[in-house]
């Protein structure tokens, strides 16, 4: 069991409120990702769930029990940090076993739990080493192993992949997804990378400036964003925002994803000049400077040639467009 409820949770440092009333329910076994730009409070919120920061007001509940005033070690959680945070003076085996040892578990039980976690993460040959003798990817696997050993109600991940290089990041991401399927545990994962959020999450929580902007399944958020912030944050390359005026619409802003803008050398609704072309092999991104809408991005699949400074015409696919009001809120038809 391990469901988490946040009820009207706030956090203030002195006079500045950094978490402005968050309500959230994470069900047992769910993989929930907090995503947002830096400074949006996602890490602070995670640390409040962990008990590393005090909650200024509101309730944090695990399995219905209020844990605001419970010490971190008593909350039956485990956390994986961006900087790994392995104990430098202990071997991998002792690093993984420390929490159980502190809880006064018998030695045989600790050994069994450690071995099982090591097997899951393929850490066998590394058990006698110290953290300084491991590579970054190995350290993060040990840190994940240390979390598994505790069999916590809640796994907390604080940007665990940010210190890894691109290839390792993808491999570890897949590993975390596999672990989630095997363990079936509740996981809360903080990241600023919307790709990690989209690929891992059952439920994405988009945060901005201490407020929840939208909660939902990845594809629901992608296909049905509530406002311009969520629409712009989720999806890469970013959604284009066009002024509605020239199209004769009632809304203020028209959002259109780069793949839903059609580019043509001869006809279309928006005139512009090619500013830059990025060929990625599988797809081509073309950046077009326009008089009315500034820089727009067009995404085409396959290889395409658009000479820089060439005049082109763009046509948005109106059926795929999103409409927003002057405050950036979505106008649903």
């Amino acid at each position: 069991m391990g469901d988490l409820t946040l009820a009207n949770v706030t956090k203030s440092f002195g006079a500045t409120q950094v978490i402005k009333g968050v309500n959230l329910a994470v069900n047992d076994g769910e993989f929930c990702v907090f995503v947002g730009p830096s400074g949006c409070g996602k890490s602070t919120l995670l640390r409040m769930i962990a008990g590393l920061e005090d909650v200024t007001s509101g309730d944090v509940r695990i399995d219905g029990e209020r844990i605001n005033d419970l010490a971190p070690a008593k909350r039956e959680i485990a956390m994986v940090f961006q900087s790994y945070a392995l104990y430098p003076h202990l071997t991998v085996r002792d690093n993984m076993g420390l929490a159980l040892k502190q809880a006064g578990k018998p030695r045989a039980e600790i050994a069994a739990a450690t071995e099982k976690a090591a097997e899951m993460l393929d850490l066998g040959p590394l058990m006698a080493r110290r953290p300084s003798e491991l590579s970054g990817g190995q350290r993060q696997r040990v840190a994940i192993g240390r979390a598994i050993v505790r069999t916590p109600k809640l796994f907390l991940f604080d940007e665990p992949l940010s210190n890894l290089d691109a290839a390792l990041r993808v491999a570890t991401r897949i590993e975390i997804a596999r672990l989630h399927r095997e363990l079936g545990a509740t996981m809360i994962y903080v990241t600023h990378d919307q790709v990690e959020a989209m690929t891992l999450a059952d439920k994405i929580v988009v945060l901005r400036a201490g407020r929840v902007e939208q909660v939902g399944r990845p594809m629901d958020i992608y296909n049905d964003p509530d406002n311009t912030f969520v629409a712009g944050f989720i999806g890469s390359p970013q959604m284009n925002f066009l002024k509605s005026g020239p199209f004769g619409l009632r809304s203020d802003t028209l959002g259109i994803r780069p793949e839903h803008l059609e580019i043509s050398a001869s006809t279309g609704q928006i005139e512009g000049r090619v500013s830059h072309v990025e060929k990625l092999g599988g797809e081509t991104l073309t950046y077009i400077r326009t008089a009315d809408h500034e820089l727009l991005t067009v995404r085409q699949f396959g290889e395409h040639d658009h000479p820089v400074e060439q005049t082109v015409w763009l046509t948005p696919d109106q059926s795929r467009a999103f409409h927003f009001d002057a405050e950036g809120q979505r106008l649903r038809a």
Binding site: L52, A73, M79, S83, Y84, Y87, L98, A99
Partner: protein
């Protein structure tokens, strides 16, 4: 090519300056050690000459060792220095941990207050300290010296250690909290080993002034049983006659223990001093 030559000149110049400084700094030590092995006449005839077969004389050391109590003086100095050092490092590290780790009202003010001692010489308070020691019956005890030196060493220790402890990863301490380590265990097992270079730096900077101090032993503990080595050496300095052989021999011997302590800490010390500059 030109940059290579340029850097050679620069490193030569830098080494030149450093060697010059080393010579100037070591010169008094050199004079003390050399002269402690010479006869009284030779000391005054040519103070800078090395001892020859004619001028070589161990009389200074013989006097010092015959004086008998010198072993006791050494022991007193050792006890005072090591005990003060222990308390400075322990309390300094604890205060630094609290200042760097916990958010509480007046944290910054408390840090400034604790660092203020670096700028105010403790000797200004000698009269008050003496009154306190008299009132508490601690005059002529080593405890008096240990207390004063601990107070004297704490400001710098807190200042340096709190800076270093701020550099220790928060994630590591938080990982410890989640794993159920107590704050004391986090302090002793996780943080202290990581600031060891800074501890060594503080240890050396604290130890040398304590070992060399003449002021407080003279005022607070001048009795025969509590004399320190620097105070003990003063018996050879008279108002009219000074036994220079013995003074120099005593000072020469006094260098040895502090040198040993320094060698123990020096490896860590260099890491502590260069940590900020190189990283």
């Amino acid at each position: 090519m030109s940059t290579a030559r340029h850097s050679t000149t620069r490193s030569l110049a830098a080494h030149g300056v450093l060697i010059l400084y080393t010579v100037i700094a070591l010169f008094p030590v050199f004079v003390i050690v050399v002269n402690s092995f010479k006869s009284r006449r030779a000391i005054f005839a040519d103070p800078l000459a090395l001892p020859t077969s004619e001028t070589f004389d161990m009389v200074g050391y013989q006097t010092v060792l015959k004086q008998g109590d010198f072993l006791l003086y050494f022991q007193n100095s050792m006890i005072v220095t090591v005990a003060s050092l222990f308390f400075v490092l322990l309390f300094g590290a604890m205060a630094a941990f609290a200042l760097s780790e916990y958010r509480f009202r007046g944290n910054l003010l408390m840090g400034l207050y604790l660092a203020l001692g670096i700028m105010i010489p403790i000797r200004l308070g000698t009269v008050a300290i003496l009154q306190i020691m008299v009132a508490s019956g601690l005059v002529n005890t080593l405890t008096a010296l240990i207390l004063v030196y601990t107070a004297q060493g704490l400001p710098l220790a807190v200042f340096i250690l709190s800076e270093f402890m701020r550099g220790v990863s928060d994630d590591l301490k938080n990982a410890g909290r989640i794993d159920g380590l107590s704050e004391y265990t986090i302090f002793l097992r996780l943080v202290l080993p990581l600031v060891r270079p800074a501890m060594a730096t503080v240890a050396v900077f604290t130890m040398i002034p304590i070992w060399n101090d003449l002021w407080f032993p003279l005022i607070l503990a001048p009795s025969e049983a509590t004399k320190t080595i620097t105070l003990g050496s003063q018996v050879f300095i008279g108002q009219f006659v000074t036994n220079w052989n013995a003074v120099l021999a005593a000072l020469g011997l006094a260098i040895v223990p502090v040198l040993v302590l320094y060698l123990i800490f020096s490896r860590q010390l260099i890491r502590g001093i260069t940590a900020g500059a190189v990283k």
